[in-house]
């Protein structure tokens, strides 16, 4: 049982690293947002596992707040992508400078 919980933590670490690598490598801002989602989900999985290991419901409550922050982040990030793509279609991460007011 304990080994399984450690495996959950290892899976969360792997998914976090995977999302981080994707965020650093990919140029498409939409894919970068998706990689941030991967990282947030890895942290969610780790929180729930911690909550189970410590027998505390707070691990699951915190995931709720992470979900809300993730939703807000996606909304603002997609608005930025839309604003950027309107100025130059097919823009990549470097073209974020177009948004400088």
């Amino acid at each position: 049982m304990d080994n399984l919980e450690l495996a959950y933590l290892a899976l969360g670490a792997f998914l976090f690293a995977l999302g981080g690598v994707g965020l650093l490598v990919r140029r498409n801002p939409l894919v970068m947002i998706m990689c941030v989602e991967l990282m947030l989900n890895a942290v969610n999985l780790t929180f729930v596992t911690f909550g189970k290991m410590l027998d505390d419901i707070s691990g699951q409550v915190i995931v709720f707040f992470v979900l809300v922050v993730a939703a807000a982040e996606v909304v603002v990030g997609l608005a930025l992508v839309v604003a950027m793509a309107r100025r130059r279609p097919g823009a990549d991460a470097d073209d974020l400078r177009l948004l400088r007011g």
Binding site: N28, L38, T49, D56, V68, V76
Partner: protein, 208 residues
């Protein structure tokens, strides 16, 4: 007991393959579909961990709302063309990113391997024990959200409001492709005194 292991390994494989698909797909739409697979497998893992409500919320919010929103923006912008993954824009970028990822993964794994289950320290059952006194999962989460964490809950409501306002402001359509111009003064928009041939223009504008 054995069922938990089987479910974990099946879902772990899906999570890893989906995560690889997100960062390695040329087409952003394929990345989004891989993301759906990953998030759904994580929802099943939540069920496996005994977080029934979070599993449902994960499916509804993530795969039902967030990924659909991302796909909607993709279709809106028409960016579902393949990315060029062959060329490396910055020399050594992928190598350095891989090193960073391996360092993060290795450090966490080192903590887990060296510490074992002792790596997770802290007081047990501080807020409330899981399934205490016959509480259902959803019942317990709701009580904690509206008692212990009620202030944080209110703050997140404010955060969502700010995010909505920010999204509306950011995606507002500018009059031209230049940075958003200053608002024109009201006297340029027909509120000035009528002189000469000015009325004809306003009539034309109102006609169609």
């Amino acid at each position: 007991m054995a069922v938990e292991y089987v479910v974990f390994f099946v879902c772990a494989v899906i999570v890893v393959l989906g995560g690889l698909g997100v960062i390695m797909s040329r087409n952003p739409v394929h990345s989004a579909l891989s993301l759906v697979a990953t998030l759904f497998a994580i929802a099943v893992l939540f069920l496996n961990l005994g977080a029934q409500l979070l599993a449902a919320v994960q499916v509804i919010v993530y795969t039902g709302a967030i990924v659909v929103l991302i796909l909607f923006v993709m279709m809106l912008l028409g960016v579902d063309t393949d990315d060029d993954l062959e060329t490396e824009p910055i020399v050594g970028q992928r190598l350095l990113a891989g090193i960073v990822g391996l360092v993060v993964l290795g450090s966490v794994l080192a903590v887990l391997i060296i510490g074992g289950t002792d790596a997770v320290t802290g007081a047990r059952s501080v807020t409330q024990s899981i399934a205490a006194d016959g509480y259902e999962n959803i019942n317990q989460l709701g009580r904690q959200l509206f008692t212990t964490y009620v202030f944080a809950l209110e703050i997140t409501a404010g955060l969502l409001t700010i995010a909505v306002v920010g999204a509306v402001v950011l995606s507002r359509r500018a009059k031209d492709v230049q940075p958003i111009p200053e608002p024109e003064s009201m006297t340029d928009q027909g509120d000035e005194p009528v002189i000469g041939s000015e009325p004809a223009r306003s009539v034309d504008e109102g006609g169609h």
